[in-house]
């Protein structure tokens, strides 16, 4: 048993970190966040060349065939760099969904072009009730056509096709169809933008068996938790650096225990989030019986921790942390968006309760 990374995993982590540092510096993030979908075609091509767009998908669909642990290592580095645009929505969310529930033909048609970096996609889950419980979808396809509205759809502005979670299955629609209206939602996170997507008798192709939907979303949720870990790490690193250099009363502020203890708590919250996210990825990869529970534990903890780490980081930065010019708020905005996505800590605590508390009642009764 060992909870460390293998040599090849460390290599991937290292090369991803270097790649994002070189190709996705904060100057680029700031330039892209002023654009419509924060999408950069050149960066996308480079990520494709690295194999990132097909990272966990089978080689027969032009993927790289790696595992869930590799995926979360990549996401952690993407989070550290605050990677803007459609990578998460296209590769992790839409790609993961297609791979889990698409038929072989559908994978060839939709997943392979994602792996090759040719197409972008996203998944539309929430509606006006904004309930992350998948059973709460109201929209349903009638005679192969969808009508209704989906909200909070990540980076739909550059999607070539959109996956839609409906009452009677998961459907894929062509984003260029005249029956689709995609409209930006003005939201906190400037680097991963949200959209409303409305359908009016839009032709929709049903994806294969939707039974794998929850597991696919669990993989996306673990990947998101790992991305949050990367954001926390960056916030921690930046804050510690600032505490070492910023001087007040003739001393670096990091010498004061009130500041030092904030940093220590950021470290504890970041490392604990990382332990939980890594374990969730491994449990999913190995199909462990506690995989769903592990995912909720990871997302629950990261949701509260990433907010706390952001709060502490801004506080330690003082007035500088409150400026637009400082990058912390960009991470803080992403942290809030990610906290909400796939359910916040309260949502996942209830899911943990269903898995760990309610099951204890069943065991007691059957015993």
């Amino acid at each position: 048993m060992q909870f460390g990374l293998s040599d090849s995993q460390r290599l991937l982590q290292d090369s991803a970190r270097k790649f994002f540092a070189a190709e996705c510096p904060m100057a680029l993030v700031r330039r892209l966040m002023e654009t419509d979908a924060a999408y950069d075609g050149a960066l996308w091509s480079k990520m494709t060349a690295q194999g990132f767009t097909g990272i966990i998908f089978p080689e027969e669909y032009d993927g790289a065939g790696l595992g869930t642990v590799e995926l979360i290592l990549l996401m952690e580095e993407a989070g550290r760099a605050l990677l803007p645009g459609p990578f998460f929505s296209t590769v992790v969310l839409a790609g993961g969904l297609l791979n889990a529930i698409g038929t072989p033909e559908q994978k060839k048609k939709y997943l392979a072009p994602i792996c090759r970096g040719e197409r972008r996609s996203t998944v539309a889950i929430l509606e006006s009730r904004a309930n992350w419980d998948l059973a709460s979808a109201q929209i349903s396809a009638v005679n192969g056509k969808l009508s209704g509205e989906k909200l909070f759809v990540p980076v739909a502005g550059v999607a070539d096709f959109i996956m839609v979670v409906a009452r009677n299955g998961v459907f894929v629609v062509d984003a260029d169809d005249p029956g689709i209206h995609v409209e930006p939602m003005s939201a906190m996170d400037l680097t991963r933008k949200l959209y409303s997507v409305s359908f009016e008798n839009t032709p929709a192709e049903k994806l294969g068996d939707a039974a794998g939907l929850q597991k696919a979303l669990d993989v996306s949720t673990a990947a998101l938790a790992a991305e949050m870990v990367g954001g926390m790490q960056r916030t921690l690193d930046t804050t510690v650096e600032y505490a070492k250099t910023r001087k007040q009363f003739g001393k670096p502020i990091g010498i004061f225990q009130a500041v030092q203890h904030q940093c220590a708590d950021m470290y504890l919250e970041t490392e604990s989030s990382r332990s939980a996210a890594y374990y969730a990825a491994w449990a999913l990869e190995e199909n462990m019986p506690d995989a769903a529970l592990a995912v909720s534990i990871a997302k629950m903890y990261a949701s509260d921790a990433s907010r706390a780490v952001g709060n502490r980081g801004i506080q330690v930065h003082g007035g500088m942390g409150f400026t637009w010019e400082n990058d912390l708020h960009l991470y803080y905005r992403r942290a809030k968006a990610s906290e909400t996505m796939f359910g916040d800590a309260t949502f996942h605590r209830e899911r943990i309760a269903r898995l760990a508390i309610d099951s204890a009642a069943r065991t007691a009764k059957s015993a």
Partner: protein
């Protein structure tokens, strides 16, 4: 990353399981609630049995009676013992901390003299570290030892000594050179607690029991041969001991916490709240789920730390998050227990209405000590700030 047990780890676990199936005492439940003074001979006998099977100190090197078990195997060991609800060992500090310190710093003669009796629980060990004026600032300790012929003469007072009431021997940190910087003039002595001038008094703590003692030393003679490590190098000897304390100790704690949360979940189905089981109350569900999740994360943090130690060979200062994590978590768990049990939460074991023999009222009070003992949360955060994050030293 592979959290499955390796073939060798499985073999280790199966061997232990087989041994436990044949040797585990069946009557521990009749002893567990008794005061430790009463159950202590029982615990000694259990440790002797473990030792005879070669299981008393799995982490120790083979040549000293251990199994040279990796931290992962130690974790497996504690998990298996908890799974069958085995009694604790009698010589907890000897096995967990002092034995390993003697093995790494002692002379061959010292190892030969002390190690076998630590393993067999024939000699119980305690630790003389903290003093009334040296708690977090351990290096400021004042108990002094002056050389007089072939002996050191020790004068001073120690406090918060676990197992002081039953200790045969003490790992004592004393000041041997008051003229140098405070952490440079310390030495570790191995002291026979039956020496003339040693006076042990129980220290009554807020739970009402006396887990700890105060020890007074008045002109106690300790032979020079009982210096552990080098004279005036006691700080390094003592620090290596503290690192041991923060290592595998957590693996056992996790299992205790797991048992507590499982029991609280079980209770939540029978305890009523607003006319239905507390397990249906959304707020109780949230709080239990939070604790459940954090207890799991405690396990995962430990596994990651163990893997790091396995790779680098030494416990790093990152271990400090484990101490903060478990101690603050246990305080939250105990508070949830109180919320869940309502008025019953306050009942002591002696009351006939008490739930679980009063473990929850005891646990609530006892948990306040968690963020103080073995390095306060404040000291742990200083350690992270300075040694892990590289911030300037604040003191």
């Amino acid at each position: 990353m592979d959290l499955n047990l390796t073939a060798e780890e499985l073999q280790f676990r199966d061997e232990l399981r087989a041994w436990l199936a044949a040797n585990l005492p069946k009557d521990w439940n009749q002893w567990r609630e008794k005061p430790i003074e009463v159950s202590f001979p029982y615990l000694r006998a259990w440790q002797r049995k473990l030792h005879e099977g070669g299981w008393a100190a799995v982490s120790w090197p083979k040549e000293y009676g251990g199994r040279s078990a990796s931290l992962m195997r130690q974790a497996i060991f504690w998990e298996e013992l908890a799974r069958v609800d085995a009694p604790p060992t009698a010589n907890t500090l000897g096995l967990g901390i002092i034995g390993p310190t003697i093995i790494s710093h002692g002379t061959e003669a010292q190892k030969k003299r002390y190690i076998p009796k630590i393993l067999s629980a024939e000699e119980i060990w305690c630790q003389g570290f903290s003093e009334p004026n040296a708690g977090s600032d351990l290096a400021g300790l004042q108990t002094e030892a002056r050389l007089d012929g072939g002996d050191y003469i020790v004068n001073g007072q120690k406090v918060w000594t676990s197992y002081g009431w039953v200790g045969d021997w003490c790992e004592l940190v004393v000041r041997t050179d008051p003229s140098v910087a405070k952490h440079k003039g310390l030495t570790v002595l191995l002291v026979d607690m039956r020496s003339p001038g040693v006076d042990v008094r129980p220290l009554r703590q807020m739970t009402g029991e006396s887990e700890f003692s105060e020890i007074f030393f008045r002109d106690v003679r300790v032979p020079v041969a009982n210096v552990l490590g080098e004279v005036n190098d006691g700080w390094n000897v003592a620090i290596s001991t503290l690192m041991h304390e923060r290592g595998a100790f957590g693996a056992r704690l996790h299992l205790l916490f797991k048992r507590n949360i499982d029991r609280l979940i079980e209770l939540s189905h029978s305890v009523q709240r607003n006319g239905s089981p507390a397990a249906k109350d959304p707020l109780i569900r949230q709080k239990l789920a939070q604790c459940y999740a954090e207890i799991e994360i405690m396990r995962l943090n430990q596994l990651r730390a163990f893997s790091r130690i396995a790779a680098t060979g030494v416990p790093g200062p990152e271990g400090s998050i484990l101490k903060i994590f478990w101690s603050e978590l246990n305080q939250r768990v105990q508070q949830i227990a109180q919320e869940l049990l309502g008025p019953y939460g306050q009942l002591l074991g002696a009351d006939r209405h008490a739930i679980d023999h009063g473990i929850w009222s005891y646990g609530y009070l006892r948990s306040r000590g968690n963020t103080i003992e073995a390095g306060t949360s404040e000291v742990q955060r200083n350690i992270i700030g300075h040694f892990v994050l590289g911030l300037p030293r604040s003191y």
